[in-house]
């Protein structure tokens, strides 16, 4: 079974802190994604990556950056966390038939 794991299920950070969210997949998938999920808004794409060291902005990239140094690992970085970044963050990778596999999510609270 494909497994996508995320470094934390719950995280509490202070305003202005730098935050790292990590995602690892074990199926050698090339494409990986970061979404945030908010009530009433659904899933919105932050960044995605087609390959190592490649990244593309999604719909809401402001305040975020990403890093992909290894194929299996895709990191989301909040350079200076703000309260409006309190959200559920979901990582995903794409399988052979374009199906997306999601990680369990990280619920981030910024106080």
């Amino acid at each position: 079974d494909v497994k996508v794991t995320q470094s934390s299920r719950y995280l509490v950070k202070r305003t202005g802190e730098k935050v790292f969210l990590e995602c690892v997949q074990d199926m050698d998938h090339e494409n990986m994604f970061w979404y945030r999920q908010d009530p009433g808004l659904g899933l919105r794409l932050i960044y995605f990556s087609y390959d190592v060291k490649m990244k593309e902005k999604g719909d809401i990239p402001e305040g975020y950056s990403v890093s992909r140094e290894k194929k299996e690992r895709f990191s989301l970085i909040l350079e200076s966390a703000s309260t409006n970044q309190t959200s559920m963050y979901l990582c995903a990778s794409i399988g052979l038939y374009y199906e997306q596999y999601f990680g369990p999510g990280t619920r981030l609270t910024v106080t």
Binding site: G42, Y50, Q100
Partner: protein
């Protein structure tokens, strides 16, 4: 552009049927369906490609009409385990590897 799902929420008794619709104002190349239970990650249900095909497994099936730019998810003889939020997603371009744009979701509650 975000696909539009309807209804936003539905409550069913066990054994009843439901239909969830997903429509788009732009051309659809394919439609994905996912289910997310509370506190869990979304799980892939099925993908429908151009051609008007209908797919399904168990008692959950879906259709895709690219001319009407819409897809429908059919849940028959619903079970308690069907409860959750259902999302449709459509790729932003022809390539299946592109990110999906998701609808806002339909919350389905199945009660005994």
């Amino acid at each position: 552009q975000q696909p539009v799902q309807s209804p936003q929420a539905v409550i069913l008794r066990e054994g009843e049927d439901a239909v969830i619709n997903c429509s788009s104002s732009k051309a659809l190349y394919s439609v994905h369906w996912y289910r997310q239970k509370h506190g869990e990650a979304p799980i892939f249900l099925m993908i429908l490609l151009k051609g008007g095909e209908q797919k399904g497994h168990d008692k959950i099936s879906a259709s895709f009409n690219e001319k009407k730019q819409q897809s429908s998810l059919y849940l028959t003889a619903s079970q308690l385990s069907y409860s959750g939020t259902y999302f449709c997603g459509t790729p932003s371009s022809y390539s299946g590897n592109t990110p999906l744009v998701f609808g806002k979701g339909t919350r389905l509650s199945v009660i005994a």
